[in-house]
């Protein structure tokens, strides 16, 4: 169906292997987490899967078609990407304009959005719960609000998958949970698939359906949060023993270095 199948993908830059021969798949309707130490190649893997990194071996199939054979326009209906690094120069863009950017592939300088596309924008804004922000300037919002605006923009894009690279890194505790809850709601109501890189392992164990753990030595380990939280995988992931403290109110443990 709308499955993304990654098989035997490896990426090397200048003779140095960054990602060693890994395989996995993504499905719609689930939240998949990607965890791993800094510099292990999470972002590179992400960019390869969505077609931004084209120097890889192996195959990445979207409903049976290799991603490299798709145009930028077609890829946009598959993946909406929120990069970690904001190489951005956002001055004077309003929230509505940022959300509208999700539909940029349909407009030109002399052709705006039609009524149906306007409705898509309004719907994305209300689904993300940012109605009251829509006339404000994007660069005046707090980090958490900005992240929700960008998610609304990705949603407006109408892609099958939302791909987020560390969406909670600069957010306070409540905002981080707010973003994860929003993602869960979007999966439930819109049926999108979500793939998210996150350094807060507890957060991903609490909200994820599946977790991919990437490490330089072990390659990619796949499992449900329940499978991973009990195993030694997490310990080997960061090269340091971890202590898991069971939380009586939550199914998943708090994780701290030992």
């Amino acid at each position: 169906m709308d499955e993304v199948v990654v098989s035997n993908v490896s990426v090397a830059h200048g003779g140095r292997t960054i990602i060693p021969n890994i395989s996995f798949s993504l499905k719609r309707g689930e939240l998949c987490g990607l965890i791993g130490a800094n510099g292990v190649g999470k972002t590179t893997l992400l960019r390869a899967v969505i077609g931004l990194e084209t120097q890889y071996r192996g195959s990445i199939l979207l409903a049976g078609r290799e991603i490299r054979s798709l145009s930028q326009y077609e890829r946009a209906s598959w993946f909406a990407y929120l990069p970690q690094k904001r190489d951005a120069f956002v001055t004077g863009l309003t929230v509505a304009q940022v959300v509208e950017s999700g539909l940029v592939r349909f407009v030109s300088g002399f052709r705006g959005l039609d009524t149906a596309q306007r409705r898509t924008i309004d719907r994305a804004i209300s689904l993300a719960g940012i109605d009251r922000l829509s006339d404000r300037f994007f660069d005046e919002l707090s980090g958490g609000e900005q992240q929700k605006v960008l998610i609304a923009s990705s949603l407006a894009q109408g892609a099958r998958y939302l791909i987020l690279d560390e969406p909670t890194t600069f957010l306070d505790l409540t905002s981080a949970h707010g973003v994860m809850q929003l993602l869960r709601e979007l999966i439930l109501h819109e049926g999108v698939g979500v793939w998210v890189v996150c350094h807060d392992v507890s957060l991903i164990l609490a909200y994820g359906d599946r977790v991919l753990a990437l490490s330089r030595e072990g390659g990619l380990v796949k499992g449900t949060p329940a499978e991973l939280s009990g195993s030694e995988v997490l310990t080997s992931l960061y090269g340091q023993p971890l202590r898991m403290i069971p939380d009586p109110l939550n199914r998943f443990p708090c994780i701290v270095p030992q």
């Binding site: 326009y73 890829r75 990069p83």
Partner: protein
Amino acid sequence: MYRSTIKAALPFLLLSATLLVIAPFIGPFDAWDRFALPDEGKIIVFQLRLPRAILGFAVGGILATSGLVCQSLVRNPLATPTTLGVSSGAALGASLVILWGSSFQTFSAPFVGAVCGAAVTSVLLFSLYSVASRGSSAQIVLIGILVNYLIASVILFIQCVADPAALSRIVIWLIGAVPSLSWRYTITIASLALGCLVLITLRAPQLQVLALGRDAAESRGVAVGSLERSLLLTTSVGIGAAVASCGSIGFVGILEPQICRRFVGSDYRILIPSVFLLGGSVVLCADLLGRIIFAPFEVPAGVLTALVEIPVGLFLLIKRR
């Protein structure tokens, strides 16, 4: 939303229209009164000053718009055709053509030289940038500044070896002044500028989304590579036309985008034409001032553009919205 931004752009339209209408009637001679022969007045107004006003306006417009394009492609407010060396590249191309004997009057030869210079510099710039793959936006500005210095030293070298006659032409060229060209050339340059404006405005939404970053824009379906190439080509032609006709008028392109953003916001479909209008007005103003202040001697417009614009720009930058 869209309608209100159009309203915000009205002042720029009014300013431009006013300047274009009054410019031909301002100058050292009051063309209508002091000339005994009304025909002479007509010639001064319609054959000399009007084409000159239109030329200055078109050139200023395309330089300012190219500034906005550079800033948006590079995502850095310091990037302009001047700081990135594209204007110097065009000047170098034109200087080489002048040096090797083509006369100043037939401007199609320096025009080709200037367009080639601008295009070669743009291509050099972006290939250096992609070799230093995924560098930051500050890096491309740095590369641009280096390229600019490199070209500047080549131009200095040419000035050293040029004979006195060619030297003085090159110097005037480098300062930048708006000449009174024939109607035919004026219309050619003006339609090139308008063509560039239309082509750039056509890509307005894509350029606007690039503000969110290269990867983000690409994942939204913008073919960033081809956007960059087509816009660089368009601006190269525009800058080439500007430099070939008026020399390298400095300082236009860095402040206009900032000023216009204050008034019309960041809807590029409105912002791009506004920047064009403001840039045109600035060069036209500079040219008018240059004609008046030390009349009957003329100060080249390139000397005065910064003077016209910096007070306004500083005021707006210091006073937050």
